[in-house]
Point group: C2
Chain length 321, copies 2
Amino acid sequence: MSETELRHAVGIDFGGTSVKLALVDERGKIRARRKFATKDVVGVEGWLDRVEREVADIMGKEGAGKQLVGAGVGVPGFVDFERGFIFDLPNVPGWTGVELGSLLAKRLSLRVRVDNDVNAMALGECTFGTGRTYQHAVFVTLGTGVGGGLLINNRIYRGAHSMAGEIGHVSIDMNGVQSPTGFGGVEQYVGNRRIVEQMERAIDSGRPTIMLDLVGGDRSKLSPKTLKDAADQGDAVALELLNQVTDCLAAAFASIAYVIQPQAFIVGGGVAEDAKLLFQMLRDNVKKRLSPFFYRSLEIKPAELSSDAGVIGCATLGLLE
Amino acid sequence: MSETELRHAVGIDFGGTSVKLALVDERGKIRARRKFATKDVVGVEGWLDRVEREVADIMGKEGAGKQLVGAGVGVPGFVDFERGFIFDLPNVPGWTGVELGSLLAKRLSLRVRVDNDVNAMALGECTFGTGRTYQHAVFVTLGTGVGGGLLINNRIYRGAHSMAGEIGHVSIDMNGVQSPTGFGGVEQYVGNRRIVEQMERAIDSGRPTIMLDLVGGDRSKLSPKTLKDAADQGDAVALELLNQVTDCLAAAFASIAYVIQPQAFIVGGGVAEDAKLLFQMLRDNVKKRLSPFFYRSLEIKPAELSSDAGVIGCATLGLLE
């Protein structure tokens, strides 16, 4: 197939901090990138103006002569996928009740799909990344919270009202930490902020650990990556804590496996990159929590697309028939 | 449509105690019933002989002149639905590695489908019972254990290896009761035997309760139904215990709802029949454990088909195109 015959789509990864755009071909390869700060545009109209301009720029340069079949937008919030409608973006003011799909389709004269950002990532990862060989998989992203996307029968499954895959709220302790989403939700234990709090408590306990040394004594620089680095260097306190964190995740994974029995969990997000030890601990803890019938046919793997997962996933939405 | 034009199937509900057969029409109506004790037949051949004879008897009498399109078998164990293959029936000796689908198809000269008994019930309930208006639902059956079947996009979802829907093993406490399937599985708290143990502990505590009176002082007759009856009569100890039991179930339901966001949970099994108070408590406890976005669009309903759920569900397998 010649370059010009390949189908292409624009992926628009709409984050709270920045909006990233990429032209991606049907083999998952990025052909052009653009980026602007979310705060640099005002309101929905400002956003549409800027995106229209960036897409025109891409198609006039790197995309010239290429076949563009659609665009996909991933947004940090609740979406009705069928209608391309944004209910609300909790971290971006002014985006409540927006018919983004049809508004952007008019601007670009293109078919546009809008989805939750984690679903878009899951779709990208299951089309071009680690998940491409599976029909049934759970995509998990570790960060401030724990996000999820479900691949069922080779399609993203959105549940009754586009909200399925909220893995971070799966309870690991019915009498555990209370939050607006219930009791004992796993992200109350393994969200980035929670991990750092546990690191600080471990440091304060006075047990010898190199964690604070790794950030030059500056507590504000402690992050889950510090924990991972310290554990990799054999730090006993860090190893213990990393084991706890992965065990909490494992408890949620086991419950999910018993419900939908996926072929694989695909885990992405900063802390899951370059994290051999973390994955080993995660697998060991899941094994302890699952019947052998379930464990032996389950894979737990790192995501592949890394920081490009967002734009590639969004473009994959645009490539969907 | 005249009676003779209706499509019919034979449902065979293969239980550890008895095998029930029924001729069911495509409107879900039972036209004939037969039953024999599981221990009355010897081995797979004995079972096939008897089933073949019973089906011939039905079709010579009540089924005469009716259009028979298939048969479905529900079995208490692990099945490969695609192949009609039984891996193992833990409670029925001699049924390991049996190609039941093709063996029975040859005997009956009919298309035969074989599934896990709970999946068959879920299918029946979602075709002819409470679930008939849903595309996405979770069917739950309460008994010795807690079984489950998933309806996703209007079809029973079996997961990667035909084992999805093992709701009884969803953990409600990662440090809870240990079993071969992990830690804190919900059926370790709400299985029939576990409920009776808790009733006995409550009685032994000396707090005033009518539970023992309801069974004439005979502890061996205590059952979850006793608990329900005592609670219905306002017994404080029973109310407290029923609340605990429904809250454990609610914790599992909330986790499942966050993962797959069904339209409804449909709850069957003896204890869920005629159980208004139980359902009210279950709904209140789920509400406490779910974000309002999830709770307001979720229904929690009793199953409708009652003791016929098994044979009707099996026949529904036989009616599938």
